[in-house]
Subunit: 230 residues, 2 copies
């Protein structure tokens, strides 16, 4: 058990919830960071974040506004004029939901906080192979960011980004979450709806396929549940 | 002359003003980015930013709030309970005015904006050798950040951080500013006052020594002007 605090980036989605479960096994103290950035489901994600923080009894939480990401735009997640593309799990293009360089913005905040808290790690639930092709979700990106942290923080800090899910499939993440008793019922992944998950956006599609392949029932409510099992 | 737009991080200080002058020589179109982060002289710096933007007739400006940096704290620049240390231009410690990982936060915003604008460069007025020993002002930090940009942005982007002042002394920056007719009278560098520059904080000390060594009169008003010429 690592005695330094760990910061976990908790969006409120399934991946960050399972990442929190892994971090809770490895560090005695967790601090949760959440970012509002004008995404369509901002309020719903924040509620999920709060529920997960209560579940893990996390005392130190920080909710930050990265409203400039919405002002900058360029993404269907933050600009209502750009439609959320329907899922295409076989495509290799960067989808419209990509928020330019979003993860670098979040990591920068996390590392600033980590320096002040004396944290030894920042956990991020990024997934490379089973993801939607976002350039800032790849292991190579996080490796390069770790070098920026080594060079750009005080000499007496030792902060490392950990991405325990980076090479897992969504099905493996579901199984990992179940085995660690992560509160998946509190999570929210849908990119466009806040009451019933839409079932058809990239994020819903990846999640539902993961649950199906893991043979587990997704505990959250959906408007429709297409069959993604192929 | 580069035809892609360039983003310039303009704090309102002398270094960023001279950097803007250099960028204006190299790119036909400039976009200015300014961050408020709860620093003591936030309002004064913003006025300086606006005056420099008017001087260069910049149409695209973005002012963002990084208020979380003040919430996170850990710096005399954002926390009124931590005194601003008097200048010690021979010290090698990280001074209390260091805002943890601030430059990574600003660069992340700049790169998000650069992706959407199609900008080819982000100009930053960081100074390594003559600076106050901030870890996120070193060339090695910016080199590592460039690698993060290459790996973490869309494949069709080509955004590079440029730090044209990185190895200059403050005296060389003053001379460069004078020769490029940069509007140094509009700039503000003091960390703690907004009417008359204090003359004694790190930032004033470095600036005044630079003007003295360049043999140029600093056009802004000071409460006191200690002799830093040794």
């Amino acid at each position: 058990m690592d005695r330094t605090p760990a910061i976990v980036l908790v969006s409120g989605g399934m991946d960050s919830c399972v990442t929190a479960a892994i971090a809770a096994r490895e560090h005695a103290t967790l601090a949760f960071l959440h970012a509002n950035y004008g995404q369509r489901t901002e309020q719903r994600e924040l509620r999920a974040f709060q529920a997960i923080a209560r579940h893990y009894d996390v005392r130190q939480t920080l909710v930050v506004s990265l409203a400039h990401l919405a002002a900058i735009g360029g993404s269907s997640l933050t600009d209502p004029h750009i439609p959320v593309s329907p899922a295409d799990l076989h495509a290799h293009n960067v989808p419209t939901s990509y928020v330019p360089f979003r993860n670098a913005n979040m990591l920068a905040v996390a590392v600033s906080w980590a320096e002040v808290l004396g944290a030894g790690a920042v956990y991020v639930g990024a997934v490379e192979e089973d993801s939607s092709g976002y350039p800032d979700c790849r292991e190579a990106f996080f490796d390069a960011f770790n070098e920026v942290i080594r060079r750009g923080t005080r000499p007496d800090t030792a902060i490392v980004i950990r991405t325990p899910l980076i090479h897992l499939t969504k099905a493996e993440i579901v199984r990992q979450g179940v085995s660690l008793q992560a509160p998946l019922e509190h999570t929210w992944s849908c990119y466009q709806a806040e009451d019933l998950a839409c079932g058809v956006c990239d994020s819903c599609a990846l999640r539902l396929r993961g649950f199906q392949q893991a043979g587990v029932q997704d505990p959250i409510p959906y408007a429709i549940r297409p069959d993604y099992c192929h």
